[in-house]
């Protein structure tokens, strides 16, 4: 049985103070990291369009079931 994911806690005291301070002092990503994130986003958007279109085609060819996945 998979371990449950811990819920995000309500922050109090020192944790809350540190969190608010970090929010007010944002650390902008360096330009090369921001550019990489944008590049990967564009790559994954294309992968998503391709992935969903290909899945529809596989389902049409296999009686509504995508053989890449297990039907539950």
């Amino acid at each position: 049985m998979a371990r449950p994911i811990r819920e995000t806690p309500i922050l109090f005291g020192e944790d809350a103070r540190r969190f608010l301070e970090a929010m007010q002092n944002v650390k902008p990503e360096p330009p090369e990291v921001r550019a990489r994130i944008l590049r990967n986003y564009e790559l994954m958007k294309k992968a998503y369009e391709r992935g969903m279109a290909d899945q529809r085609a596989r389902e049409e060819a296999n009686g509504g079931v995508d053989p890449w996945f297990k039907k539950v």
Partner: protein, 185 residues
């Protein structure tokens, strides 16, 4: 773009419907593998999370998996949890003691198949999630949150995540967050 056997330009990224579950996927952590292969669809069925799979577009081999859910980061005007719990027992929350909260998205699970480890696919998926909620945000979301397995903590730190609590003694995971304002140019 070819890196260590995985062609990142030949990926399929698929939103998994609740009637499907991932097969032939091993990230090396039995707990996470069990969730991904056997339990993720239940969460999806009850609208508690949405799962995505990243596969090789040619072979269908599953390379990465992630699931997301809405979350929030809340702060209380209390010294600690004991004071908060004492207060909760009273009826009603007066304005001066209300909680402050900020919208977030929880990265419930993120796993990379052992065959694709070291190929930057985890970072690619994480970058995509960050960008989805920053450049293409539909509802308002300030933070990504994650309950990171201890062995994954260096990965999240490298990707700009910070610890939620100064003291966290959970034996398995650490609560971490990423501020999407870091992406403002």
């Amino acid at each position: 773009m070819v890196q260590k056997g995985v062609n990142l330009s030949k990926l399929s990224f698929i939103k998994i419907r609740s009637s499907y579950s991932v097969k032939d996927f091993t990230c090396g952590d039995p707990d996470l593998d069990d969730f991904i292969r056997n339990r993720a669809s239940e969460f999806q069925k009850h609208l508690l999370s949405v799962s995505y799979a990243c596969a090789d577009a040619d072979t269908g081999k599953m390379l990465a998996y992630c699931s997301l859910a809405n979350d929030k980061v809340a702060m209380g005007d209390f010294k600690d949890k004991i004071e908060f719990n004492r207060f909760r027992k009273k009826q009603g929350f007066p304005n001066e003691k209300r909680l402050k909260s900020y919208p977030a998205v929880k990265l419930c699970r993120l796993g990379v198949d052992v065959s694709a480890k070291g190929c930057q696919i985890g970072t690619t998926v994480l970058d995509c999630i960050k960008a989805m909620f920053f450049f293409d945000n539909k509802t308002g979301c300030r933070f990504l949150t994650v309950d990171a397995y201890l062995n994954a903590v260096p990965f999240y730190e490298k990707n700009g995540f910070r610890f939620m609590n100064a003291e966290d003694d959970d034996p398995h995971t650490r609560l971490m967050y990423y501020d999407l304002m870091n992406l403002v140019a």
